[in-house]
Each structure stands twice: as structure tokens, then as C-alpha cells.
């Protein structure tokens, strides 16, 4: 049942929102025991919202899960990090508030890599659990919005998940869990109330089992917001027609079975394409992305020091000792790794070589995309180079092997371009995603194409 139908049933009284919400809460509690998709199930809030639901809202009574890094008023929001333990925001993120205003029911905060630092949701914060793939519990959900993707696949009731991407964190888990995931144009959805990973890269987006729902949710959450100075004050391009598609040549350098699924699907759906080469993005995308992301992350994470909110202890010793103790004790390993690399990249003597260089390379990578969009309406590629790997295999990867997994998704994220992953088929019973990327504000082209899958 798509959202529109669900909401009609709510309005006509066929669906009782309180009863439905109670059922959904029971179901997700059960699912969560086995799969770890939620850091918090916000039962109290959900029931309260259900009791006084606005039936006129576009999302009347619809259960929505929210990635943990997006603030929900009164509900512990930690971005999956122990350093934010007990933090209960006193406000809703703008995107969340817009959902609530349309009658949505917030059912919980979904699990993720700590602050989004990962591609598999295995870098969860201290004391958090890794979400397990809905098709095979030995495998990962992908990351960093792993819990959002897992619950979206597993939910047998109308539901969408609000998720977030910095370098691919929506499409990656969407691909691994066989759901649809949209990462919009940078700035289209307000970042106000999003716990920052990297400000120039973070985007709030949507996961659902179908693209129709994504279209409806996007319509609710998009739009200018005074509270976010990087929020765009522009409308979406109304033209949804797709005339020419470019298949990114370098993206075919992936697992053969994945490649075959993508090519067969394009053939089966009679989607015509030309090959287009984006060599700079293929070669320089990952290092460029990681330097920028880590540099911005290291500044964002500087504020977590055991004061004002989050983890705190008895105030002992000098401020230096206290801050260092708290940060050492409550940050996970990958967070520490990225803080150190990001701080290093901004250090005097290395700043030009790494930090500034990466932002200059980013300009060239963006130009490469812009050139491609002079000719094509959409670019297409596999979303991920592999199917969801086994958790035990991910644990063996070195940091750099981990980072290389993002090779197909970092380009669109660096450039702030909208991209959508939908399921293209299965390899060894595991889902494979196909990704479409559009020019700025051309979400309607993505949605029209995505609906056909």
C-alpha cells in the first residue's frame, strides 16, 4: 500500500491510527530484537502523535523512522555516538517538523555508523549494535544509514525512513537492502537540526519501498529554510522528461555479477544509453571526498567535550584534561581516526597539500559532471561495486579498502547532485542497486525514471 492509499484509508476511517501505530510499534520491537535497526523506539511520542493525529495532513498517521543523526524533540538523538548519550534535543529538525506538521508518526531513531563514519554500519559507536541485512543476517546493511534501509525493507506496513547522506550513505544501504533511496540536491532539504558530519556535503534524503512515496515525502520536506544558511531558495525543474542517458564507463569496473545485472536490467527495460567517461571522478573522487569530509568532520566534532549536552562526568581537573578525557573515552575508533586525519589535513604546513588541494580538485570534478549534463539528462551506474559483504569480511578490511567502497557514490555527493538508487535485481539472493544521477534540481527526472522500476 503506497502512502496516498494509506492516508485515504486513514481519512475515511478504514484505518485507525492509534491501532495501526500500536501494531507497528510491536512489529518494530520484534524486528529490532533480531536486526538492530533502531537505537531508540519512540513509543511514547508515537502514541501521543497517533492520538491527536491531524487527519487532514498529507501524511496522516504514517509511521516514519528517522536516522539517529536527525534531531527529534524529546527523543534521544545521538548520531550513533556514545559521546551524545542522553542528548534529547529541545527542538525538531526542520525536515522532521515538516513531516510532523503533515500528520506523520515518528516511530524511532535508526542505527547508523557513528556520526556517519562508515560504509557498512559496522563502525557503530561504543555500546551500539550493527544492523543486520534483512536478506542475510551474516551480511551488513550498508552505511551509514543502515538501520533506515533495513527497517524500510523489513517493514510489511506503510512506512518511510528519513535518512542522510554525506558521501553515499543513502544509496549505498538502499542498494544493499533492496529499497529505493533518494539523496536530493545539496541544500534542497534544510540541514537545520541535522547533527553535522561534513557541512558542505550533508544532505537529508528519503528511503522507501517505492519511488511514489519518495516523491510525496520530498514534496513535504523540501524548500527554503531561514534556519539553514546553505538552504537553497530555488524551485525544482518541472521538466521530468528524459531524452538521453549516459552510462558511466568507469563504473563498469565492478564485480562482474553486479555489472551483468545492471546491463541486463537496462536491456530488459529497453533503456537506451551511450557510454560516458568521467575519468577524473573515478580516479580522484575518493581521496578528494575523504580529505574534505574528514577535515570538516574534525571541526564539527570539536564541540563535543562533555559540556552542555551529551556524555558528561564530574568536572575534575583543568579544561584540557577534562575535554581530552571525555573525548578519549566516548568517541569510537573510526571517529578518532577521522578526527586525527582531518585535523592533520588542516594543520599548518600540510593545509595546502591536502585541505586546499582537495577543494580545488572538487571544482574539477564538478566541472566534469557539468560537462556530462550538457549532453545527458541522467547518468547511470551500479550503486555499489559489490553486493552486501559479510560482517566478518568487512572486519578484515583496512581503512583505505573501506574508503574505496564509496568509489561510485562520492562523485555525486561531492558535486551536490541528486541521485536515486532503485533495485535492479539479485545476485546470490542479495539485492543490487542501480543509481541514476541528475543535474541540480532535476529530482523529477530521477523520480519519473525510478517509478518505472
Amino acid at each position: 500500500m503506497i502512502i496516498k492509499e494509506f492516508v485515504e484509508n486513514v481519512r475515511s476511517g478504514k484505518i485507525d491510527v492509534v491501532k495501526n501505530t500500536k501494531e507497528v510499534l510491536e512489529k518494530i520491537k520484534k524486528i529490532n530484537k533480531d536486526n538492530n535497526y533502531f537505537n531508540v523506539i519512540s513509543e511514547e511520542l508515537a502514541l501521543e502523535q497517533a492520538k491527536k493525529v491531524n487527519k487532514k495532513g498529507k501524511l496522516a498517521g504514517l509511521p516514519i523512522s528517522i536516522k539517529d543523526c536527525i534531531c527529534v524533540k524529546g527523543v534521544e538523538s545521538t548520531a550513533g555516538s556514545k559521546i551524545l548519550k542522553n542528548y534529547k534535543p529541545v527542538f525538531n529538525a526542520t525536515a522532521v517538523q515538516r513531516l510532523v506538521d503533515e500528520g506523520a508518526i515518528l516511530i524511532g531513531k535508526t542505527s547508523q555508523d557513528e556520526f556517519g563514519f562508515g560504509s557498512f554500519s559496522t563502525n557503530v559507536g561504543l555500546d551500539f549494535k550493527t544492523p543486520l541485512n534483512p536478506f542475510d543476517k551474516e551480511r551488513v546493511c550498508g552505511g551509514s544509514s543502515g538501520g533506515s534501509a533495513g527497517i524500510t525493507q523489513k517493514a510489511d506496513f506503510p512506512h518511510v525512513s528519513l535518512s542522510e547522506s554525506t558521501g553515499g550513505s543513502i544509496v549505498n544501504p538502499a542498494s544493499f537492502c533492496g529499497v529505493a533511496g533518494l539523496c536530493p540536491t545539496y541544500g534542497l532539504v534544510s540541514r537545520y537540526g541535522l547533527i553535522d558530519y561534513a557541512n558542505s556535503l550533508d544532505k537529508i534524503g528519503i528511503m522507501s519501498k517505492n519511488v511514489e512515496d519518495i516523491e510525496l515525502i520530498l514534496d513535504v520536506i523540501k524548500g527554503h529554510d531561514k534556519m539553514d544558511s546553505t538552504s537553497l531558495n530555488k524551485e525544482l525543474n518541472k521538466d521530468s522528461s528524459v531524452k538521453k542517458i549516459g552510462l558511466i564507463k568507469e563504473s563498469l569496473d565492478v564485480d562482474k555479477e553486479v555489472k551483468d545485472i545492471i546491463l541486463n536490467k537496462l536491456k530488459e527495460m529497453n533503456i537506451k544509453y551511450e557510454l560516458v567517461s568521467l575519468p577524473l571522478n573515478a580516479k580522484y573522487g575518493v581521496p578528494c571526498y575523504y580529505i574534505i569530509a574528514m577535515a570538516e568532520a574534525s571541526t564539527n566534532l570539536a564541540k563535543y567535550c562533555g559540556m552542555r549536552y551529551g556524555a558528561e562526568e564530574e568536572l575534575k581537573g583543568s579544561f584540557d584534561e577534562y575535554f581530552s578525557n571525555i573525548r578519549t573515552k566516548y568517541f569510537g575508533k573510526e571517529a578518532k581516526r577521522r578526527i586525527i586525519l582531518g585535523t592533520f589535513a588542516r594543520t599548518a604546513g600540510y593545509r595546502d597539500q591536502y585541505y586546499l588541494k582537495a577543494f580545488k580538485v572538487r571544482t574539477l570534478l564538478i566541472e566534469e559532471y557539468k560537462k556530462a549534463f550538457e549532453k545527458y539528462d541522467l547518468l547511470v551506474s551500479p550503486t555499489m561495486p559489490i553486493i552486501a559483504p559479510k560482517i566478518k569480511d568487512v572486519e578484515k578490511l583496512t581503512p583505505i579498502q573501506n574508503y574505496m567502497m564509496d568509489t561510485l557514490t562520492v562523485g555525486a555527493n561531492l558535486a551536490g547532485l541528486p541521485h536515486l538508487s532503485v533495485n535492479a535485481g539479485f545476485v546470490k539472493k542479495m539485492p543490487v542497486g542501480i543509481m541514476f544521477t541528475a543535474n541540480y534540481l532535476n529530482e523529477k527526472k530521477l523520480i519519473e525514471k525510478g517509478k518505472k522500476f
Binding site: T185, S200, E312, S324, R337, L341
Partner: protein, 92 residues
């Protein structure tokens, strides 16, 4: 990455690393930086940096007092508070 640089960066970032972590991170970060040094190969002379993906201009607002969080709300997430203020560790 040299051990001394790593130790200094960690200190600046207010992180205490154990000897074992220093050893591990030194090796790992060396590998990461070596891989990232591929960026040296691309010519960026006369290229402007993109600190944002889309061009944005400075956004200003009128300097007027608006309703904001109450003191009680602002202090609601900590135990370390006194007389309506946050309490922090010793600065001097």
C-alpha cells in the same frame, strides 16, 4: 605519518592515544595518506577551490531579538549547571 606529528595532532584534537593506538594509527594513516597523495598528480593551477558544491552567497538576517530557547530548555541536557548557567571545568 611520523609518530611525533601524530602525537601532536592528537593533542591538538584533545585525544589521548595509547602506545598501541599510536603504533596502529601511524601505520594506517601512512597508508591512507600515501593513497590520497594521488591528488598531487592533478594540475590545479588557476583552479578556484569549491568550499560549497553550489555557489552560495553570504546570508544575513536583520539584527533583531527573536524568541529563542528558554534558559530552562537550554540547560535541560546537562547536570553541570548552577544558577541558570552552564558549569564547565577549570579554565585557569
Amino acid at each position: 605519518m611520523k609518530k611525533e606529528i601524530l602525537e601532536n595532532v592528537a593533542k591538538n584534537a584533545r585525544l589521548k592515544l595509547t602506545e598501541k593506538e599510536i603504533k596502529e594509527f601511524t601505520l594506517e594513516l601512512e597508508e591512507v595518506l600515501k593513497s590520497f597523495s594521488i591528488l598531487d598528480k592533478i594540475d590545479t593551477k588557476n583552479v578556484e577551490p569549491s568550499f560549497q558544491p553550489l555557489e552560495i552567497k553570504n546570508v544575513f538576517r536583520e539584527d533583531i531579538i527573536k524568541k529563542s530557547l528558554s534558559q530552562e530548555e537550554a540547560l535541560s541536557n546537562t547536570k553541570n549547571k548552577k544558577d541558570g548557567y552552564f558549569k564547565g571545568p577549570k579554565a585557569i
